[in-house]
């Protein structure tokens, strides 16, 4: 059996936090926008987008941690590799490396 129930459940928890967190921030931001508070609205909406941007990286980190905990070094290493690539792309995007 190749599937790891524990890894699945941990990832599902991370994803739920990301999805509901981003939804709440974006919805509140839109409400503030309608109320005419543009400054606060932009902060909240930006926060919602950033939460979504972080969630996939957090997901990979959690999967890697679970595999490491299970003693599955090979796949923990694969997770680390993906994380490094994603962080490199983040660095390129933010700092125009």
């Amino acid at each position: 059996m190749r599937r790891s129930p524990e890894a699945n459940l941990t990832v599902a928890a991370v994803l739920r936090v990301g999805a509901y967190g981003a939804f709440t921030l974006l919805a509140l931001g839109m409400l503030l926008e309608m109320a005419g508070m543009a400054q606060g609205a932009a902060y909240l909406m930006h926060g919602g987008i950033v939460v979504l941007l972080i969630t996939p990286a957090a997901r990979v980190l959690m999967v890697g941690a679970v595999f490491l905990h299970e003693g599955d070094r090979k796949y923990a290493l694969a997770a680390l590799g993906v994380l490094i690539i994603v962080l490199a792309s983040w660095a390129v995007g933010m700092f125009r490396v």
Partner: protein, 262 residues
Amino acid sequence: VSESATTVLLVLLGAFAGLVGSMAGVGGGIIITPVLVLYFDVPILHAIGASLIAIIATSTATSAVQLKRPLADIRLGLVLELATTVGAAVAAVLVIYVNRRALAGLFAAVLLVMAATLVRRAWQSRREPAVQGVPEYRVRRYDMGLGASLGAGALSGLLGIGGGPVKVPVMYIFMGVPLRVATATSNFMIGVTAAASAYIYYGRGDVRLELAAPVVLGVLAGSMAGARLAARVPERYVILLLVVIMFYLSARMALRVAGGGG
């Protein structure tokens, strides 16, 4: 159209794309980019930027529901992500050197191929019995899978789509992965692949808040509802609806390119 009416339309677009996309098992990005370009007059790179965030949203919301019924092969997904993320990041950097018209033309072509793939899938699943369990399998041909994943990632970075139509058949046909596992694994990967290109679009300023925020809010609501509804609505009706929309958008996009637009 006033600014707040546009915002409402953007939320509705996202909700529709999220609902249909999550029920049919494709990212909503395939609808979002062309609709933004064709009907909201958005520059294609801004449309792709919003679409990438929408893909992360769909993948996040639907995987959170789907992972409770563990189908995704996380180990296989991780290995293939080593290639999709590289393809996605490199393509996202290079996209600014691609002619806008060529990009729109490529989008129209990919939209057409994806619609045809969906038709085939719906046709094949018509007489397939509903299976509950997952058969035992052994993954083979990692070289093939990694190569295809690199290409799928590049398509994602160039066009702001998930790349599922490339990854799923490769896992299913060449790597010996059962179809349902391949689909779930592809959905699991999509968010990470999209993130690799989204960071670059975001850093370049191609993720516009006024565009991405309403679309993504709609997508989150739509895909959360869709992931729960998926078990109750027959997949083929959703696919039929989506295919009609995709053929139409592909034709409109092709006409626009032929008429000199980008």
